[in-house]
Homo-oligomer: 392 residues x 3
């Protein structure tokens, strides 16, 4: 009866669930002199990386929505996923309009808190941020293949708005294939392949690509980490993005890699192509694995076998649960040099140690060696980072 | 028993309900050359019109509060209804202090998402926005008459604050009369009459009136829709607002109209009077009607007879629920020309098609023809708009 | 069974409780000519003092978090308590990392809505605001003694961030002693003693102290209340804070006092020391008392014996519940004159009347006489304030 009553209520008003996310970072830098000359003196700091409140829900079984804001980033509060959609249509799992990620890149689509490293790789500099648009998606072949495609305003601001008469459209599509999936273990081993493509108008006849050394610090006024590589503005009407994805998860061991190519159709001079790639491996010392969401083709939340606790029992002894522990290493690379564009080349090597206290709380430690080659000058920076991370 | 427990808990802590609202607009403009000369080149765009989070509740039966913020408008986050009040006093239904709408204009007081058109009419340019103040209200004669009156700071900023020693007060009152109300059908037909008045100090010795062509686009920096008519600053100590309201709802058919007169007591020169008016008709193709809230004297949420759905049944056929469909037309007018003030005259004719997927989700299409007569130059703009709209 | 189910759910996802706070102030000023010359013409105004949304919860019994934002203050939305922590560790009640108050000052640590006056005293100008850091705390001797200590970034911005390589650290500790606590009456009488200390690096080699006359108005652009006393920037590498606390609660009667000393190690010239102090008494006409939280050593929410109501009964008579009524007086003092630093001396005398409608709703009236002595010129300001205050 209570069940029937609740159902009736649900039919009367949309549901709403509130959640949030909170990340505090401490970052330390070491630079050689050439690097200081190239990018300036990087200041150590503590800063909130993310502080988010998100509401999501459904209306009358067929409508779904999400409405989230970040209070920690510049342009605060900035818009996160803010969209309304229809679900379970006869030929589409989901049809959305609003502000959300375009279907491009495994690393980009996987939520930040389920990614292995503090920041996504330098290759992510090419992946579109959230934009205002319309997208449909569908999983087929018993969720072994996913398809998603959409049209978007190509360069929405941090509040999700975009005006201007000159095109400024983008069309983006992604397909994934799950060539192996171990049903018996609930997905503890699988192999993922992905391809994505985007055709994009530029905004105001020019485009710019840049990348930070996989670290971020968002303080007011002072201390923001500068881009290490940067093409400057390139006069162009449109450009393309090609992305290839691969991931192989075998229980506690995983390998993941992406390659991106970006041909730019310049208004003057030869066309240029930029590229980026990364490969990483991770291993759970405590035996867990990185789960997968088959319906959308990207990674899910890590669930420790045992949550952390450290308490005095009634007998006076101290008992401890250890949580999950993961080690990982990543090599990543971005090349923004081509023809007469000298944006630079950046190669990052990263070592990481992650402690999952429970599925919703993490502490992460990271060491990055960044090697920059720009205008024929080579330089190096060492970066150490620590993150306290909870979502709820 | 559970009931008793719940009651006891409620006595211990204020209740809190969280809701929100999300509107994404796409707007396209066409202008003749004279209009481009008069107001500039209007840029097409996509933008969030509203993105809101609102908490409301009660404390110990007699205190009520509301606390809402908008993240999409300029000055973000801006303050919406943010007030605390007493309710069910012996001679007042409600006594509030804080930031809320002054009691003026049927269209203004009706919540944006229950209004028929994308934007309120040009006449709404005269209606006060939310201000900091104190208001009492009461319904009498078995809710056939409502009365509301309050005193306010006359020009609070987007954060609800207002400082300054020079008066800057406003007194505003509204009375409504429900001359007919069909109880048998639950209010499917009724006739509403309203009168409102406001006496207002100006801020810093001057006042300005302006109106957009019933369309809004809130992007950062570029692309905001300019005012078509604008008096500029008029030196004055105070001015008055007179408002008259009429609405006749007969099942799916409705007519609504308001007229406003604004005499301004100028510091130099003759007094001037501005005016605005609108009339509109709407018709629900699917038979619904526009409901009314008798206690406060304005319109309520439209409830479709059948919600939208579009699903494949187990037998493989596709079934569809159509939601509610409404067509509407509006003629509106504002005249900011008087004596040596040449603010201009703007006449808008609007056609609208509204699809209510369910009581909380709407898609709206609108075509506006705006005719501007300013400084003896006539010009025209065509505007097409589309809105995706959900509240929760 | 429902209990078991709920427990199981709690184990699956962090809990989250949402609350908020809303305060609207009206402030009027009267000044003699000397005061206008010294600090400028103060403008009356209405403004929101606080408008806050806070989420807090636990994850898996051992992790706790809080995440709150204020929409009314400058730098909006500004960060309030935003932290994640471990609780009930074998030797610590709580270990936190994030943005929160340093353990210094009884008045500062007591939540604003449980303090007796509209604003904390002028002495609070020395107490650190919330900063990014790490803190542990513990109550011992059956909660008769509390200890708290932490390290912090010394000067986080309103978004909780702080960068810069030059130290900018602070170490702060506080100890309290409850020398008397009447268990029988549930803490209606008690005596509290406290000591606190902080050693602090300056930011960019300089430090500044200033104080307003215990009143605040946060309007955009115009009308913010200026500091009456102000040292200007003092070149220094570090400084110290010493704080002493005392409170004696005897049923409806209470006395509270703090003294602070601030020696500054100047880069040039002799070291200087600033000081501030306040003492106040309050009395509940309706017999309530100011409660205490023993685990952390500061004050708790006032609970009226009878909540306010004012309703017509079915028999037509009017019944009223009166809430709680409190009168209070405070004398406070800050001295920013030493050696060649002429920051000024400010002495405030305050009378207050507080009406607690229920535990969560308050209306407060206050009169302040502020006496300023700066650069050998004496001047006076009278301030009247009113606050509408609800939390939920």
């Amino acid at each position: 009866e209570a069940e029937a009553k609740k159902k009736e209520d649900a039919a009367k008003k949309p549901t709403m669930t509130l959640g949030g996310q909170l990340q505090a970072d401490a970052i330390w830098f070491g630079q050689d002199q050439a690097n200081m000359n190239a990018v300036g003196d990087l200041e150590d700091g503590w800063a909130f990386r993310r502080a988010r409140i998100v509401s999501r829900g459904e209306a009358f079984d067929v409508v779904e929505y999400q409405c989230g804001f970040d209070f920690a980033l510049s342009g605060r509060p900035s818009f996160l996923d803010v969209w309304v959609g229809l679900k379970d249509l006869p030929h589409l799992d989901s049809l959305r309009v609003g502000h959300f990620f375009e279907p491009f890149s495994l690393e980009r689509l996987t939520q930040n808190r389920y990614n292995t490293f503090l920041e996504r790789s330098v290759a992510d500099s090419f992946a579109p941020a959230r934009n205002l648009g319309l997208m449909g998606s569908r999983a087929i072949f018993e969720e072994h293949v996913t398809l998603a495609a959409g049209v978007f305003r190509s360069d929405s601001d941090v509040l999700g708005d975009d005006t201007g008469d000159d095109g400024e459209q983008a069309a983006t599509a992604r397909a994934t294939w799950l060539s192996h999936y171990d049903e018996a273990s609930g997905g503890a081993s699988y192999v993922h392949w992905g391809l994505a493509y985007s055709y994009r108008d530029t905004d105001e006849g020019r485009v710019q690509f840049q990348a930070r050394p996989e670290v971020s610090l968002n303080a007011l006024g002072e201390g923001t980490v500068p881009s290490f590589v940067n093409t400057g503005f390139i006069p162009a009407d449109h450009y393309q993005l090609f992305g290839m994805e691969f991931a192989w998860i075998q229980g506690p061991f995983s390998v993941q890699s992406e390659v991106m190519l970006v041909p730019v159709d310049r208004l003057a001079g030869d066309d240029v192509t930029f590229e980026a790639a990364y490969i990483y491996g991770s291993y759970f010392l405590t035996g867990e694995h990185r789960p997968y969401i088959r319906k959308v083709g990207f990674m899910d939340r890590v669930m420790p076998f045992e949550n952390f606790f450290h308490v005095k029992t009634e007998e006076g002894t101290i008992e401890t649960g250890k949580g999950a522990w993961e080690i990982a290493a990543r090599l990543s690379y971005i090349d923004l040099d081509d023809d007469n564009i000298a944006g630079g080349e950046l190669t990052d090597f990263t070592l990481a140690l992650n402690w999952y206290l429970n599925p919703y709380t993490r502490v992460k430690w990271e060491y990055i060696h960044a090697h920059l080659d720009r205008n024929s000058v080579e330089s190096n920076a060492q970066i150490a980072g620590m993150r306290f991370d909870i979502d709820f």
